[in-house]
Symmetry: C2
Subunit: 252 residues, 2 copies
């Protein structure tokens, strides 16, 4: 049995709590949360604490707070030589307080409080300073996910930036698509099957092989018609640079 | 029974042929194809023709060729006052030859020859000059799809541009994500669950509510770190303009 405390109560903390509560061989002991009722699904065996001095000396302390609060929270932990990890894609492992052993436990997924997710499918990227700590993180990660990867800090930085492109930016393109439809009185519903298929295609084709459209064909007539049509200056610039990038890519 | 000829043998033609061959109350009579074996799934009751003079006077002729060939093909049809439609998102209905009745039959989906698709889920956008032709197109479309929409040429133009953003451009972002991963020796497999979830989220959240990431938080520290990391100038420009657009959107 591996004992765990979670420090934090946001979207990611909430999803981790749910996952650990269902897991075998994991005992979630405490959750640190400023708000008493922040974690809705908590069972009675887990206590909510609001003072770092109440922290119990568990096997693993997971800091699940916003990036800029991680260092400060790590310095509040009243122990020495315990394993302390954060869950961020963009904060280095080294920046954690030197008082304790360091590690990273990064779920590469977009986690909302409201949308329940099958955590077993979430890729978990782990990193630690020693092999024995890495082994412990592997045990914990495998208890809640089928996709565990050992990823060093440099690789994690790349992954985080790649995730900004495929998640944050792709989602913004969906929003632009919605805005263009609505402006002409067309329901966004019509676009949804296309969005799902765009994502599903990467199961069977590489994105490069799946590429279609006027930029891929270097069809300047259509490209210019589209640019004339777009009135929002940001949308126009996005159309231009993505078209250029697809064309440049075709030349490689 | 509605009789149909299809002129063309590319990806979209192939998928339409498969869909019509399975449909009730539709008789696919002929497919015009320069290559005798271009349509792999064709049953024996459908003949392949290579001369427009062999065309039979069916109820509906569907032109499924590249955008710049549509007008020319419509002028080769040796009939008067037949219903002739094209399947393009970006060509106007009016540009078809005046010799016949005009219409549009636009499947809003990314169709590959190699990846079989459930056509019943593909949104079909139809347009015609008269109510009776629209009714006929509705019957034909409903025989192969559960998602039939009456869309005029202006709305279709918007939809086509929106489709470029949510499909062509989103797919290119997936490719950029893959390139960033591979450069650091990280498998693209790690990103796939995130890509699927990014698309699935729009089932339950609007893209605006689903938006997360450094741009949404206006987290300039992380944004600048990411820009420093990106070496490909196109990737850097794409990162900048999409970040700007997300920030501007947050102010609305």
């Amino acid at each position: 049995m591996i004992s765990i405390c979670i420090l934090g109560s946001g979207n990611v903390a909430q999803q981790l709590v749910s996952a650990f509560e269902k897991a075998d061989n994991i005992q979630l002991v405490q959750v640190f949360s400023r708000k008493q009722n922040a974690i809705s699904t908590l069972s009675k065996s887990v206590s909510i604490i609001q003072d770092y001095n109440q922290l119990e000396p568990v096997d693993l302390i997971i800091i699940v707070v916003s990036d800029d609060a991680i260092v400060n929270v790590s310095e509040q932990i009243p122990f020495q030589n315990k394993l302390v990890v954060h869950t961020s894609g963009s904060v280095s492992m080294e920046s954690l307080s030197d008082a304790n052993r360091k590690g990273v436990f990064y779920p590469l997924q977009t986690l909302s409080k409201t949308k329940e997710i099958n955590f077993m499918e979430v890729p978990l990227c782990i990193e630690a300073e020693t092999n024995s700590d890495l082994k412990l993180l592997h045990q914990v990660a495998s208890a809640i996910s089928n996709n565990v990867y050992e990823i060093d800090s440099n690789q994690r930085k790349s992954l985080h930036i790649a995730a900004v492109f495929v998640n944050n930016f792709a989602n913004h393109l969906f929003q632009i698509g919605k805005e263009i439809c609505i402006k002409q009185g067309v329901s966004f519903e019509i676009l949804k099957p296309l969005i799902f298929e765009t994502a599903n295609k990467i199961n069977t084709l590489s994105p490069k092989d799946a590429q279609t459209g006027p930029a891929k064909r270097n069809d300047t007539t259509t490209i210019n018609k589209h640019l004339d049509f777009l009135s929002n200056p940001n949308h126009k610039e996005i159309y231009k640079i993505l078209t250029k990038s697809i064309i440049d890519n075709g030349k490689l």
